[in-house]
Symmetry: D3
Subunit: 180 residues, 6 copies
Amino acid sequence: MQKKGSRALYIGRFQPFHKGHLKALYWILERENEIIIGIGSAQFSHTLKNPFTLGERIEMIYSVLKQENLLTRAVIVGIPDTDNQHSIWVSLVKSFSPRFEKVYTNDPLSRQLFEENNIPTSGIPFFKRDIYKATKIRELMISDQPWEDLVPQPVAKIIKEINGVERLKKIAGSLTPQQY
Amino acid sequence: MQKKGSRALYIGRFQPFHKGHLKALYWILERENEIIIGIGSAQFSHTLKNPFTLGERIEMIYSVLKQENLLTRAVIVGIPDTDNQHSIWVSLVKSFSPRFEKVYTNDPLSRQLFEENNIPTSGIPFFKRDIYKATKIRELMISDQPWEDLVPQPVAKIIKEINGVERLKKIAGSLTPQQY
Amino acid sequence: MQKKGSRALYIGRFQPFHKGHLKALYWILERENEIIIGIGSAQFSHTLKNPFTLGERIEMIYSVLKQENLLTRAVIVGIPDTDNQHSIWVSLVKSFSPRFEKVYTNDPLSRQLFEENNIPTSGIPFFKRDIYKATKIRELMISDQPWEDLVPQPVAKIIKEINGVERLKKIAGSLTPQQY
Amino acid sequence: MQKKGSRALYIGRFQPFHKGHLKALYWILERENEIIIGIGSAQFSHTLKNPFTLGERIEMIYSVLKQENLLTRAVIVGIPDTDNQHSIWVSLVKSFSPRFEKVYTNDPLSRQLFEENNIPTSGIPFFKRDIYKATKIRELMISDQPWEDLVPQPVAKIIKEINGVERLKKIAGSLTPQQY
Amino acid sequence: MQKKGSRALYIGRFQPFHKGHLKALYWILERENEIIIGIGSAQFSHTLKNPFTLGERIEMIYSVLKQENLLTRAVIVGIPDTDNQHSIWVSLVKSFSPRFEKVYTNDPLSRQLFEENNIPTSGIPFFKRDIYKATKIRELMISDQPWEDLVPQPVAKIIKEINGVERLKKIAGSLTPQQY
Amino acid sequence: MQKKGSRALYIGRFQPFHKGHLKALYWILERENEIIIGIGSAQFSHTLKNPFTLGERIEMIYSVLKQENLLTRAVIVGIPDTDNQHSIWVSLVKSFSPRFEKVYTNDPLSRQLFEENNIPTSGIPFFKRDIYKATKIRELMISDQPWEDLVPQPVAKIIKEINGVERLKKIAGSLTPQQY
């Protein structure tokens, strides 16, 4: 367990931010004083894998942090993808984020890239991985099944306000054989 | 049916422009006064899905418009892809095109993006979809089957002049397991 | 003088398209059968030097070609800038444009780039250069002096419809010492 | 004065965030319920005009918001520059930011771009403009004059920790005639 | 067989450079006086298909050329990918490389692109294709099987120094179903 | 003085490579075992400041290294510019270059960027700075004065073969007030 005074980066795409992410956040905050929530693939949206814009994801996470009284310990940043030019990604992260000493993520490639740059990394235990999983939540949305209980309440509220489920269904429709 | 004086955008990739596209063009011109033909994925070429350059596609469509005496009612523009950064695509379209009030396309994602930007969209009826289909025409070219009758005559002429079929076959050959 | 059947590229930024450009167009059409009007710096707009978007410039030039009954001999294409990566610019032009045999422009760098690629170029005589000059027309707009007579009538109409003069004045205001 | 429940965007480059920016923040918060602080030219750093990275600027502003107990009413986002491709910038801002109804800035071009997109804008009164001005603060740093009192205390602390003044002096040294 | 005094370009990705590549090099040097080794997909790394950076690949190939006493006849250059914007790739190659008269490669698309630009190309005979093949070497690395004998000795040495096999395994681990 | 076995990076734009650069090369080789010659602003060409392409500069330097029998101790790499996104430049350099322990350059910004990344740097003594200076050599070329003696003989030969002086003059002509 890291000593207090520390600041760590927690990276995900948060499409959308769900209750598993929130549990992970609390788990990291037991180990670190401050947390930077790094929203990856920042520039993408309106795809099956990345339906929500960076701004929408910031709005969702900010509203959760506010409700949970975590704003004094967590700050949100957007981290663009560099396609497959992975060798510059860590320096991009470092320049887009407040300083940090450690990175929390379960993605092997991200961990490899940070370790090659001498930045320590750690995995995060999964919380009910079979149900709290963004891929699954997006599938529930597309197939008109209930998904609201899998995300914090402010996230569900925002997704409804922006007609997020309708958007996701339209995107899914685009993946059928091309029409023009 | 839209009132006269109107101008609409018709978006496609036109790889290549075939007789189904031409029928769609006439169908839209019954409903609109002027049409902007937006050639999507403008920057791509020499792939199986996008064999022809923007310039070659402009030349093909311009030659058809000339033959059909449609040049006073139709103008051609190129529209680059933004990869998966879809949130900026509509503003890119708007800045690369003359003003328009409506968009005609059958692609659900494109329609979703325009609708989110408060621009009305409409689908287009297909015309003998089983035969007038760019994917199929490219397959005919690769397998040395007759394709010329599926495109307007000036399009066939240009494809021959630029050795388009030979190019497509070479590209198809590149997709076999990598050779170096 | 080039033989008939030929097609040439005429490159400019057309910010805006003025009567000097129109005269140049007629001068080239005496020498060539078809002309491609290449609108350079396609991606830029809302600057002092490039106030109008590509789409607005296409709309202006198309409306002039229509009025002059030149649509069967002239086609419009947009040509993006490659910043200072000049070595790829000619291949970009070639892929964004119908085929051409010759380039008309007065810019020495553009001529050098085409000549290095074995494409012949030619200058264009200026027509009343002291008054038909885009830089000067933009200055007149900013200083509230009459400019309408220097551009073809459909161009003036469009600039008014899009509040182009107001835009240019706002942009000029941005160039005073930075305010935040 | 705008009604409560509103959310507005306040755009600047914050190189660095100074006491004039903090006063502007309070002035806007009298008029709006929530504020989004948009850090412009996000991708740039290590230049005379933009010495600090986005991450450093986020860290500075976050520490000020924390000290001022403003974290429940203000969220920070980074906004990349689009060079001179201004026509897509507003859609980029919208996709990188939570939803907002109004924009506060003193930059005429930014106001023009938002107004063309039907988003209302407002200027901000300057607070002791002769002394609270980022350009001047950077000049003081370069010439070894006192600057600490012009920025909130947490900002001064961070600039010292990252050796920001030394960096700025090195950058200034780079602008003498080129040495290789 | 080409006459002496000639210079040719040999293009590959060299992920990694193996004994088949070295044999190809000697085969080309029987036909040409000088060879330019063009390392394609220069900007990519840390993927299954492109695990090594351009710099690592240059270091590998340079060390082989040194051992083989070939430095006076071979020079190394990096060639970035242009995604699917293939129409500008040849001009990019030409501007990133010393002058050459011919291209050696077995990739049909590359050959097509050079031929369209009037640059002659030639295939290269494969040498024990079933064992000297980069895809297979990377698979051996991932599955902990012996691979060292398939590459020149200096290449094996560098891959070990940079922990290349460990990197490749981590990357392979990233391709299991996404974990956040 | 660094111990043998070391490898260092020497960065410049080499527009063109002159005798001062060659002296610097020898001076560094007294201190290091191997040298990587990093050609900066790799993607630019055909400007007053960067007239020659990366490929032309590689050809010039390679021919000098060959003549000086330095090929076993020096390797050439191209390093693209990142505009003003300086925070990622060092990681780009590291991924485009073989491994190195130290950087030689006289540019304060480059030194600052490497030092911030914990890579030691060193300046290089100038050799007859008043005459061996690329800016001056380009001015001599433009004004038709003798410049050949200021560069190694193989460099002069290549510049003549590619008509480099004529190119530079054409570029200089482009900088007179814009002509369209």
